[in-house]
Amino acid sequence: MNFIDFTDPNVMPWLIPVGPLLAFFIITLVTNRSKLIPATSPEYGGHHPDYDGMLVPVVNDWGRVASILVGLAGILVAWIISLNVVGQALATPHFGEQVFASSIVWLDTGLTAFRMGVLVDPLTTIMLIMVPLACTMIFIYSIGYMAHDPRQARFFSLISLFAGAMLTLVVADNLLLLFVGWEVMGLCSYMLIGFWFEKESAYKAAIKAFMTTRVADVVMLLGIVYLYSLTGTLSFREIVYNEAVLAELAATPALLIGGLSAASLIGIFLIVGTIGKSAQFPLHVWLPDAMEGPTPVSAMIHAAAMVSAGIYAIIRMFPLFAAGADPSHGVLTPPLVMMALVGAFTALFAATMAVAQYDVKRVLAYSTISQLGFMMAALGIGAYVAAAFHLITHAFFKALLFMASGSVIHGMEHGEHHVHEHAHAHDHAGEDEHGESHAHASHFDPQDMRNMGGLRKTMPVTFWTFLIGGLSLAGLPLVTAGFWSKDEILAEAFYGGFTRNYLGAHAIVFIALVLAATLTAFYTMRQLGLTFWGEARTEEARHASLGRGIVSVTMTLPLIVLAVFAVAAGYVGVPSDFPIFGAIFSPEHNPFHHFLGPTLLEPPGTHSFNWIPVLFGSAAALGGIALGWYMYWRKPLQAGEPDPLVNILSPAVFQTLHNRYYIDELYGRVFIRPAQWFANRVASEFIDRGVIDGILHLIGRVFTWIGDLLKVLNQWLIDGFGDGVAELIEAFGYWFRRLQTGQVQQYILLATVAAILIGLIFAVSTGILQAAGG
């Protein structure tokens, strides 16, 4: 008996997604047990007016605890195994040339076999450092955040599936398995965004997210199928790390579209998938609405999993996009140019929208879109390592920011409850409210930053961690992770655009990203200022706090851990010739670059340090921070006062930004409503019921008419003839009968007339005969 040796690093990656997936099944099948309680019970948290007298299912206490334990155990196991794999990878010299991989035959059809397997190379290793760590933090945070939700067990089962799918995607060695993880994540996002599915806004957001990404996914699927039909394999190793295959793909002309190589067309299809998943323009619309889910889900989607997956897939397939060109010497392929432009535009475009948001989570949502634009743009100009670096640092500080904002919202709800209790002298037993209660909070919006202010006093830990995350996002020079990764992207863009004078995409990327970085720093300071600085603008904000006990601990511990990473993660990628810092952190070589480089066949080169992009980047960050400080910290917003930005930008511009340039409305008018109209009026009513059924009914009617006609003809002609003969004889009989009157005189008369007639005829005829004879 040959046991599979799971201590072998080639085999061990199989186990990484197993923990969370197993947790998903165990929670779903075993520990998700609910009890029925009256809807009015405070335990339900809802006291929903419509549910009076109704029993609602609430996860029972045993299920609550067990689900948390199982979910946490699953992700912890994944984390430990990941760390083990990562440790072995780091200990392997020249890791990258040598990788951990194993596969099994999945689809064996006699002649050929489709293999499914796992692959750990430097890129995977880096993801395996980030994903399980971020997921674990999110899980711990969720314990507190979801503590009172009636469907808490379902939450843990779904988020385990989410983590499992992401880990599957990360360790996959082929595009198909990656796509499976990709789609399952799409499903999880659908179910988690719509977790409070009673709320209309929640289920609409869920469908929007799923549909938007689905459109992109299907295009991506087409690319995968096309790739497979050309190469006969989907394995990363056999495609993107095989120069012969890449050269062949680059030399094959694409179907239908002239002037494009097959590699480019496949690349574009795959990029569309990422544009959907990583919420790039024009498919970015789903991400801000995805805020409808519980906050840990937002953290999961925005940082650890979903959107990172999009960028990861591009990084993973990077050689394919670059096939037939040389991005490090300024020769870009159409997919790379597309990425550069989409990324640069999105980075700037989303940043402008983030500036004009009041919802604390929405600001972060737009900032995610913008930051992913940074990564896209970096990939577009071939800055492969920089994009991966930013992906990792962004994941840490964005997970932190989301969970911190979740704490803020939680605290605000707490404050709202406090105010509510005191105002009505009601004695509600529930401490926190979630889900259903959101809908009934009516006029007060605990997520609106205008209702906040001064939260630093009541929520100090949240404030400090939020500040660290925010500054990292803003790219505060030298001390934050965000600075180092953003700097790397800017340096690459500048190097290509201005040092080597490739201009074109490189220059556009550089300029757009510097502007976006300025805006990023500005809106981050605006958010921090509105939320934490100054005095509380509402009674609720004054009483906002996380309370005490386990809830507060589980909700702050992850923040602290992530805050450490939001600072420290940057120091693994300091360029070695960066003054002072380079000597401290990268004495020999840039560790991140050095480790990740061998993922590609030909490790990307590094270029010498240049002050200009660093200065631009620092100026952007500091300028934005200074402007934000000037407008929102120096003189904090007072209660009832409008945002100073409204007047500066003019209300019309502000409204346009606030309403996301009305793109959602535009899509509604251009795509959704016409599609609905077409479906209802044209396809269903006119063509289907009208024309097609009409023709059928017409045929039916024609046959009925023919039948009727035949029936009539039958009566007239055939029956007419048959009956007519009989009737004629009958009629003759009637007529003839009149001769027989029974009167002898008449008979004699008739006989006499007849005799005369006969005699006459005889005479005449014989006479004629004689005359003829004579």
Partner: protein, 522 residues
């Protein structure tokens, strides 16, 4: 391969008829329960034995297996000739799989309270199973035709007696429409059989391969072209290929739940199966020549069906039109005329049977509880019946082609076949993928309307929990969804050899058009 003893295929074929005979002597009033259980028992037994077919089947042999042949009218070359190969094996199992599900779905149906005649109902079910298995295993053209037409009768009565309000219209439309199509097929069958001197399909194909028999082909409407059309129209109506689909929504909507499940699950597949079994090998040149046209209709059906689905406010109609869309996929796959396309097509027939059968099952359960199929009448069902909501979601996702579940495997393979096909190619794949997007639109719309949202309707709040028989009906559907989705290899393996042989046959018969022989996933 001529076996003399009793073939398992014959046993599987006639088992439902034995059940029929036994139930005939039962008393409706005193033994209603026994009748139900007999029907279920026989259908389950048939399913288990049909699994035996799979066990005995040798996947490396492309030819007919487990053959039994008894001369019936030797003067006319008509014989009782049954067997299975890679093209039919899975469909036989699909049939025997769907029947117990459909019977379980009828256990607690209100239709008997309204219309009675429970015994007659189960008798028709048994008759239907017999006829459907017959269609898939019979190798003689004339007997095939007989079985083909016999399936109409029980379904006609199932719709006409136990259907909804407009059942008579729907039943007549169903019967006349499909019957009208079959007449042309009968003519074509007679022409083929008389020219070949036998009605045994394998012998006719062998004759075509050796060149002993050929149907002249020099254009779309030459002799072979017309014969092809004669068969194809009958099959196209059954599939249904757009624009011959308009009987389907009516029949589906009016049929009782079990009727819809069987219609979607099995009856439609008789059409696509017929194309693979008869049209392609008998008329290879015409198949190649007609392929772009028919695949175009298939693509139109994919998009059209999805779009019309989206417009529906009636759950059953929505699912019914989605069948037009899904079957369009199968048609495109078949007419890619390569191994990947056809194998994907056959697997997708099975997938559609499972997923859409499942959809009709859950819609039927909702209908049982609310007595309406309008989506407005629902909302918040997930909250009222959490488990049912979760199971429904799996079925909905399966129908949408989520990776990891069954339909994805079929869709992926079909897309691959289409893209690799020398006849169809990229544009067809592009439009077919549009259908995948639209599938998500209408399915999520359905799920949102019915399952999500607030529980603001009194009736939904008091929704009756699932009966054990309903749970029992859902379980096999779920198992099949996950099994095919996660482990499709054995399914492909079972048809691989036969499909390869078919593709080679078509390829060799049409030397000037080299059909891309794209292999299955490597």
């Amino acid at each position: 391969m001529e076996a003399t003893g009793l073939s398992l295929v014959t046993v599987v074929l006639f088992l439902p008829l034995i059940g029929f005979a036994i139930m005939l002597f039962m008393n409706e009033r005193t033994q209603a329960g026994a009748i139900r259980w007999t029907a279920l028992g026989f259908s389950v037994l048939t399913f288990l034995l049909s699994l035996g077919l799979w066990a005995l089947y040798n996947p490396d042999d492309p030819g007919l297996q487990l053959v039994q042949r008894i001369n019936w009218l030797p003067d006319y070359g008509i014989s009782y000739y049954v067997g299975v190969d890679g093209l039919s094996l899975l469909l036989v199992i699909l049939t025997t799989f769907i029947m117990p599900v459909a019977i379980l779905a009828s256990f607690r149906s209100h239709i008997f309270e309204e219309r009675g005649r429970e015994k007659l109902y189960y008798l028709f079910m048994m008759l239907l199973e017999w006829a459907m298995i017959g269609v898939f295993v019979v190798q003689d053209l004339v007997i095939f035709y007989v079985f083909w037409e016999v399936t109409l009768v029980p379904m006609y009565f199932l719709i006409g007696i136990w259907g909804a309000e407009q059942r008579i219209y729907a039943a007549v439309k169903f019967f006349l429409y499909t019957m009208a199509g079959s007449i042309l097929m009968l003519l074509a069958i007679l022409y083929v059989g008389i020219n070949a001197g036998t009605f045994a399909l394998p012998e006719i194909i062998a004759a075509i391969q050796t060149g002993a028999l050929s149907f002249p082909f020099d254009g779309l409407f030459s002799t072979q072209g017309l014969l092809f059309l004669g068969f194809l129209i009958a099959f196209a109506i059954k599939v249904p290929i757009w624009p011959l689909h308009s009987w389907l929504p009516d029949a589906h909507v009016q049929a009782p739940t079990a009727g819809s499940i069987i219609l979607a699950g099995v009856l439609l597949k008789m059409g696509t199966y017929g194309i693979v079994r008869f049209c392609l090998p008998l008329f290879p040149e015409a198949s190649v020549a007609w392929a772009p046209t028919i695949a175009t209709l298939g693509v139109i059906g994919i998009i059209y069906g999805a779009w019309v689905s989206y417009a529906q406010r009636d759950m059953k109609k929505l699912v019914a039109y989605s069948s037009v869309s899904h079957l369009g996929f199968v048609v495109v796959g078949i007419f890619a005329l390569n191994a990947a396309g056809i194998e994907g097509g056959i697997l997708q027939m099975v997938n559609h049977g499972v997923s859409t059968g499942g959809l009709f099952l859950i819609v039927g359960m909702l209908y049982e509880r609310r007595h309406t199929k309008a989506m407005e009448a629902f909302g918040g069902v997930w909250k009222a019946l959490p488990l049912f909501g979760a199971v429904s979601l799996v079925i909905v996702l399966s129908s949408m082609g989520l990776p990891g579940l069954n339909s994805f495997v079929g869709e992926f393979t079909i897309l691959m076949g289409t893209l690799g096909s020398n006849i169809l190619g990229f544009v067809f794949a592009l439009f077919a993928t549009l259908g995948v997007i639209l599938a998500a639109v209408y399915m999520l719309y359905f799920y949102q309307k019915v399952y999500m949202g607030e529980l603001d309707k009194e009736e939904i709040r008091n929704l009756e929990p699932l009966h054990w028989s309903e749970k029992a009906a859902l379980v096999p559907v779920l198992i099949a969804i996950f099994l095919i989705g996660l482990q499709p290899a054995p399914f492909f393996r079972s048809m691989d050899a036969s499909v390869d042989a078919l593709v080679r046959h078509v390829d060799e018969s049409v030397p000037e058009v080299v059909v891309g022989n794209l292999q299955m996933p490597e």
